[in-house]
Every structure is written in structure tokens, then in C-alpha cells.
């Protein structure tokens, strides 16, 4: 439930694209102007921004299984050496 006015509803509809960096210049301006003056909408926006960052930080994988890079390199080399017939 959005507690503020109809303008807020309109602004909040555009927040997803805004946070995804997919809004155009005029939309960005309207959103930022509204947010600078509307705490409830700012709170919602910051919450979604935080959630998006959290999903990124928690779900990004930084460790590879040991030896995977070498196995891939080896498989590419083997494929190339052994595959002139299937060209």
C-alpha cells in the first residue's frame, strides 16, 4: 500500500526501470525531483536499491572449482588437434 498521493504511485511505477539504469533523461529528472521531496518514496527506492545490491553480492560466484580453467583449456586444445575431420 502506497501511503502518499497519486503522483507517488506514478513515480513508483518507474522506480524499477530507474534503478536498472533504463530510464530516459526526463524520467530520471522527474523521479529525482520527486524523491528529493518525498521521504516515503525515497525509503521505498532505497530499499529496492539495497535489495538489488544484496541479490548481486550474495549470488555472484567468485570461486571456481579447482582445475576447471585448466580442464577447459585442455579440452579446447584436444578438440582442435583431434577435429580436422569434423570440419
Amino acid at each position: 500500500m502506497v501511503e502518499c498521493g497519486p503522483e507517488c504511485e506514478e513515480i513508483l511505477k518507474g522506480i524499477e526501470a530507474y534503478l536498472d539504469g533504463e530510464s530516459g533523461g526526463a524520467a530520471i529528472e522527474a523521479i529525482e525531483l520527486h524523491l528529493s521531496d518525498c521521504h516515503p518514496c525515497m525509503d521505498r527506492t532505497e530499499f529496492r536499491r539495497h535489495l538489488k545490491e544484496l541479490v548481486h553480492d550474495r549470488c555472484v560466484e567468485s570461486e571456481l572449482p579447482p582445475g576447471l580453467a585448466d580442464r577447459i583449456r585442455a579440452s579446447l586444445g584436444a578438440r582442435e588437434a583431434g577435429s580436422p575431420t569434423d570440419a
Binding site: 513508483l12 533504463e22 544484496l54 541479490v55 571456481l64 576447471l68 580442464r71 583449456r73
Partner: protein, 194 residues
Amino acid sequence: VAQTAIPLDDVTRARFERDVLPLLPSLYGAALRMTRNPSDAEDLVQETYLRAFRGFAGFTEGTNLKAWLYRILTNGYINSYRKKQREPQTVEGPDDLDEWYLFDRLGARNVEGSAEEAVLDRIPDADVKVALESLPENFRIPVLLADVEGFSYKEIAEIMGTPIGTVMSRLHRGRKALEKALWDTAVERGLIDG
């Protein structure tokens, strides 16, 4: 289906090693979130590299290499692992969820100020992964590509071979489903009273 291999000359091969191999950690991570297990993820990534290697001579330098690789990865996942894992291709989505599902529920618990964010932060890493992995594939892949991998709507549309409007709608519904999964996790973990 085997593609016709185009033999790579030394320059192209060097370019492959320079540009494509460094993307391995990122591709493996995406494969892990798609297949949901390390052994399938490793197979999927190996297959992706073989296909990319075979198709690399036909790839135009200067175009979006990362999106091209993710397209091979995503197609590989959809064509083989989905069948293998017998995951139903869910077209139906969580349409009936509130727009601000998580924020409004956390707010209704009278947590003040930045406490909504604080509850999120207390959810263990593994549970956030499980929440993402619990989404049906049609929703999981766009959320993964947008929020974890940082692709634009246009790139996601190219990777998934769907119109941009479909990407936006699935992303929107997928994120709502993710909010619900995170809420359920937080309640289950006793981080909030359900």
C-alpha cells in the same frame, strides 16, 4: 547438434584466450545459479566454451562478446539441462503478489528507519541463493542476468531471444517472487515474526 567447426588461426585463437577465458568465473557463477548444482554447472560451462570456440571465427569483433557467450550458455541450459532436470517450463507467474511485497510486510512489523534493510542483511548468503534458485526458470534467468550479471534489458532480450517487453514483465514478476521467497526465508529463520 554439432556445429560445423571453423578452424581457428593462431591470431583468432590467441584472441579467444585473451577475451573469452577471463569470463570463466562469471559464466560458471551464472551456470551454477541456472543448474543449481556444481557438477551440472561445470558440464554446462565446458559445453559453452566448446561451442563458443567452434563459433568464434564467426563472431564479429567489437560486438557484445559477453552477451554472445551468455546466449550460448542460456541456450545450452534451456536445451539440455532443463530437460535433464525435468524442470517444468513455467509460463504462469506470481501475478497476484503485492507490488511492494517485502517492503510493506517489513514495514508492517513496525521496524523503524533502515531496519527493513537490516533484516535483509541478516539473511544468510546461502538462503539468498536458494531463494533465487527457487524461482521458475522463466523468472530466474532474467533476474540473474539483470541483478547478478548486470545486463541491460536489451542485452537480456538478445540473450534470451525474447522481446524486450517480455523481459521487463518477467523481470518484474520474478523480482516479486524473489521478494516473497526472501520473506518466507526470513520468517522461517526467525528473523521476523511471520
